[in-house]
């Protein structure tokens, strides 16, 4: 259409009153001047003139929506209930979709991210996947034909960023020379790093910063390039700023400072050619599959490793994984749980749609007389369908708009359910335009889903009014709701039991009220031997705090997923097994509540002795020393002699779900960072304050990098299960409530329309009890259908969730029984009121009932 015409018509719409006025005036003049002839009908020319200006389709549409709005206003309770249920269902879908988008769908913001692959190697001996390779291996591998276009190498240390007064933690990415060119990142200012920056070790102290850091720290000043940045104790020249949005090679672990890998010794304390420290990200050549690359890499990689080391075992395969999100593991960790949640909320939406479809159909029957009248007055079938659909769209639009607000406010609390992980995911889990588009599509789709059947039904029954609703369809709509609800309830039961089972795991330690403080001594005066003195003093002072029961130090914290392992040389053994180990200070076992089963704890004197005194756990004793460990001598690592002075109980080390693991405890030596553990009777918040001021009073320069508790640490480990359990219960509760409301609505209508029949039955001698039974059996039949449909569905859900269950199978009788009980109870509750009302029917008035 001509834009001028559009514009003029639009102006007309906005100045309609003026148009009418001017038209009337114009015609009045005409009438006066033409005295010799009658003007005739004046309404019709005015109307025809007006029509010229109108958009016919728009007027029709607006009329449909006005009618729909009026009819919805007439039933405020129904309308409010419908909008509320849609708000909850659509809101839940929107909120969960923002998780799916942020965790599963998003990619690194670089071109060709879908072809990125992460290269690791299985390490049979240490039961883990090796993330890191030697630099020489990386350089040689890049030169070979591996089916990869190019490979980049990075390492991701945390560092202190300081400028005179303030010190803050910053994420650093040490990058190979080809990093920015391979990823296709452009500079926002200055230049990016190139191969020449990375050639000679420690030669070029230069850095590129992220756009975020440029904005937050330098206010995007153009003179930032050329200025210096103090990272740890070294000074780097800023040569450029990366493009906005680029935050390093791991989507969910943002980095702000990019430094050539030639500077690695400044961060990891090893020369570039030493040890294995570099992580590899490759990009597949166009048309090369990930399997081909894997096969190729296993062949070439082994050859290269023979030259560069380290020598790997025959079963230590190279692992090549899809890495559109870069190096991070959050998609692997959270993806399944998040998709399961998406499934759950989608089911809730289906329940809500089935529910509304049933309720709208019931209303349609109630309004059939009204519709018949309109049809008799000439309204077309299409016009009626349009009006009913308009109602559905209005309801959905109302629900959708409120759902957007609900989703926006619920994302925060949902993220906090994830504990520490939530904070890392927060920048990506956002109600952004893509999520809004998803909500819009979902809203329209649900309107069509729940609106089409009632509209079609209403049009089909014209012009004969008040034909009774077709029972099978109503029954089916209700049965579907109960079936889906049963599936959700079952899933909720499985997740709740999983969480309970995990909480019930015997940790082998007492996790109640133990505060954990992580201290970073790097860059302070407490380096080397002086750190041990400082830490010992700290532990002593902590023990003296009011309310403190015990305090001690270690170099890692249990149940956080972190670990260290080392090779053992046991007397008379041909193999060299591997054990977890950690350094602890005297009093560690008492602080954590791990029982000492034999021997003694460490003493401050232990550090000095040449034959290392060690404490092993019971699992270690059983597995490696025939259960009789005390006094035994063996060696570890590079032939370091050790004597067992104590045996401790076996406690969980890395994960809640792990099998008993052998652990060796060493006296805590010199260290740059340590965990202080304090068991106290003081409440958490007060204890945290005590510890902060204690550390500050000893030395302000020592930074507390984390302050948490053993319980919080365990909660973090259970974040996924807690999220699933909480949301599944909430959502299944919502679904059951909706199904019950649906059942109530349909039953209330059905009994009301059978008032006359019931009256006759009663007049013929039916007892009130039998009338109530009549209603109840009707509803029970529907619920039974729902259960028959729902049980296989529940089993299916269980199968899908199997990998996240713990301590129970996908087929769980207790969950099934619980789900059935809740379902039947709510169905019964929904049926009782209509049944009771039917039983109280007064036959005399019922027979007069029209």
């Amino acid at each position: 259409m001509n834009p001028g015409v559009w514009w003029r018509k639009l102006r007309f719409r906005l100045q309609r009153a003026r148009f009418e006025r001017e038209m009337a005036e114009e015609m009045a003049l005409h009438r006066e001047l033409r005295t010799h002839r009658r003007f005739g009908n004046t309404t019709r020319p005015a109307e025809q003139s007006r029509e010229v200006w109108e958009w016919a389709w728009l007027e029709n549409l607006l009329r449909d929506f006005r009618l729909a709005a009026r009819s919805l206003r007439r039933r405020p309770v129904f309308t409010a209930a419908a909008v509320l249920s849609l708000t909850l269902a659509l809101g839940a879908n929107t909120a969960v979709f923002s998780f799916v988008r942020g965790i599963v769908l998003k990619r690194l913001p670089v071109p060709g991210a879908e072809r990125l692959v992460h290269i690791e190697q299985r390490n049979e001996m240490f039961h883990m996947d090796n993330c890191c390779f030697k630099f020489a291996f990386y350089e040689e591998l890049r030169r070979r034909d591996t089916g990869l276009e190019d490979i980049l190498g990075v390492s991701n240390p945390e560092a202190w960023l300081s400028d005179g007064e303030t010190r803050e933690r910053a994420g650093v990415e040490l990058v190979s020379g080809n990093y920015f060119t391979m990823l296709g990142v452009r500079p926002a200012a200055g230049r990016l790093l190139s191969a020449s920056d990375d050639r000679v070790e420690n030669a070029a102290p230069v850095a590129v910063i992220s756009h975020r850091l440029w904005r937050n720290r330098f206010a995007e000043r153009p003179d930032t390039v050329g200025r210096t940045l103090r990272v740890n104790s070294d000074v780097y020249v800023i040569v450029g700023v990366a493009e906005p949005g680029f935050q390093g090679s791991s989507l969910h672990d943002p980095r702000d400072i990019f430094i050539p890998s030639a500077m690695v010794s400044r961060f990891l304390g090893v020369k570039r050619e030493e040890a294995g420290w570099i992580m590899l990200l490759g990009r597949l050549r166009q048309g090369v599959s990930i399997e081909t690359a894997r096969a190729r890499l296993n062949e070439v990689g082994r050859q290269v490793q023979k030259v560069t080391g380290p020598q790997m075992g025959p079963r230590d395969d190279f692992l090549v994984r899809e890495a559109a999100q870069g190096l991070g593991k959050r998609k692997a960790q959270w993806g399944r749980a998040v998709l399961l949640l998406m499934l759950l909320v989608a089911v809730v939406l289906l329940v809500a749609c089935a529910n509304l479809s049933a309720l709208l159909s019931v209303r349609g029957v109630e309004r059939a007389r009204d519709a018949g009248l309109r049809a008799a007055l000439g309204a077309s079938r299409a016009a009626l369908v349009r009006q009913y659909l308009a109602e559905a769209f209005l309801l959905a639009a109302g629900g959708g708009a409120l759902a957007w607000m609900l989703a926006r406010v619920s994302i925060g609390p949902l993220l906090s359910l994830l504990g520490r992980e939530g904070a890392a995911l927060a920048p990506h889990v956002q109600p952004d335009p893509a999520v809004l588009a998803f909500l819009a599509v979902l809203t329209l789709a649900s309107a069509a889903l729940f609106g089409l059947y009632p509209a079609w039904r209403a049009a089909r029954t014209l012009p004969l009014p008040s034909r009774a609703p077709r029972r099978p369809v109503f029954a089916a709509l209700l049965a579907i709701q109960f079936a889906l609800s049963l599936g959700l309830l079952y899933g909720a039961g499985l997740f709740a039991q999983t969480l309970r089972n995990l909480r019930g795991i015997d940790l082998g330690l007492d996790s109640g009220r133990v505060a954990l403080v992580h201290l970073d001594l790097s860059g302070t005066v407490y380096e080397g031997a002086r750190s041990a003195d400082f830490l010992r003093r700290l532990a002593q002072e902590a023990q003296a705090l009011p309310g403190a029961r015990a305090a001690s130090l270690s170099n890692l914290s249990v149940l956080s997923g972190s670990m260290q392992s080392i090779v053992l040389r046991l007397p008379g053994a041909s193999t060299r097994p591997v054990t977890y180990f950690m350094g602890v200070s005297p009093g560690y076992f008492a602080t954590l509540g791990i029982p000492l089963l034999g021997g003694r704890d460490f003493t401050p004197a232990d550090r000095a002795s040449s034959e290392r005194p060690v404490i092993v756990n019971q699992q270690f004793a059983r597995q490696y020393l025939n259960g009789d460990a005390l006094g035994k001598v063996f060696a570890f690592g590079g032939n370091m002699p050790a004597r067992v002075v104590g045996v401790a109980g076996t406690a969980k080390f890395r994960y809640l779900k792990e099998e008993p693991q052998p652990v060796m405890y060493l006296p805590l030596g010199e260290t740059d960072d340590a965990w202080l553990h304090v068991r106290s009777t003081v409440p958490r918040a007060a204890l945290d304050a005590q510890l902060r001021s204690l550390v500050a009073s000893l030395d302000r320069r020592v930074a507390i990098t984390r302050l948490t508790s053993l319980e919080a640490q365990i909660d973090d480990a259970l974040a996924r299960e807690r999220l699933l359990a909480a949301l599944a219960s909430l959502l299944s509760g919502l679904a059951v409530l909706l199904a019950a409301i649906g059942l109530y609505g349909v039953l209330a209508f059905a009994t009301a329309s059978r008032t006359r029949e019931i009256g006759i039955r009663m007049a013929l001698g039916s007892a009130r009890g039998s009338i109530a039974r009549l209603v109840l059996t009707g509803s029970l039949r529907v619920v039974a259908c729902g259960v028959a449909l729902g049980l296989p569905l529940a089993w299916g859900c269980g199968r899908l969730a199997e990998s996240v269950l713990y301590g129970l199978k996908a087929e769980d009788a207790a969950s099934a029984a619980g789900a059935l009980a809740v379902l039947l109870a709510s169905a019964l509750a929904a049926s009782l009121i209509p049944a009771w009302r039917a039983a109280r029917t007064d036959p005399a008035s019922a027979l007069r009932h029209e």
């Binding site: 003029r8 018509k9 038209m23 114009e26 003049l29 003007f39 025809q48 003139s49 200006w53």
Partner: protein, 115 residues
């Protein structure tokens, strides 16, 4: 006195032509001008005149400005736009083509009758 209705679709052309010849006119004057111009053969119904004027306004071929009549009454004066002039040319050309074609078909019958 019997007068003929204007054939459908030609009223807009006549209005444009009238405005092109006479300059700004209000509704009544347009109707008068068309009727007078056709020696009172054609009759302009108010019921078609005003909707036709609205169509011309929507298309942007005429503009309407409020002014004063000789008798000092407020009236809307319609004026041709440049687009309206082009449209008039197009319409007249088309009308010429169609009426020539119709005349060609009717011609033998006319000849036969005159014999």
């Amino acid at each position: 006195m019997s007068r003929d209705e204007i054939p459908p679709g030609t009223l807009e052309m006549l209005i444009l032509r009238t405005l092109a010849a006479a300059g700004p006119l209000h509704g009544f004057e347009i109707a008068e001008a068309i009727e007078a111009g056709s020696c009172d053969v054609l009759r302009v119904e108010e019921g078609s005149l005003y909707p036709a004027l609205q169509r011309l306004l929507v298309q942007g071929w005429v503009t309407g400005e409020w002014g004063r009549t000789a008798g000092n009454r407020r009236a809307r004066y319609y004026q041709l736009t440049a687009g309206g002039r082009r449209q008039l040319e197009r319409e007249m050309e088309r009308y010429q083509r169609v009426s020539t074609a119709i005349a060609r078909i009717l011609a033998p019958a006319v000849k036969g009758a005159s014999k």
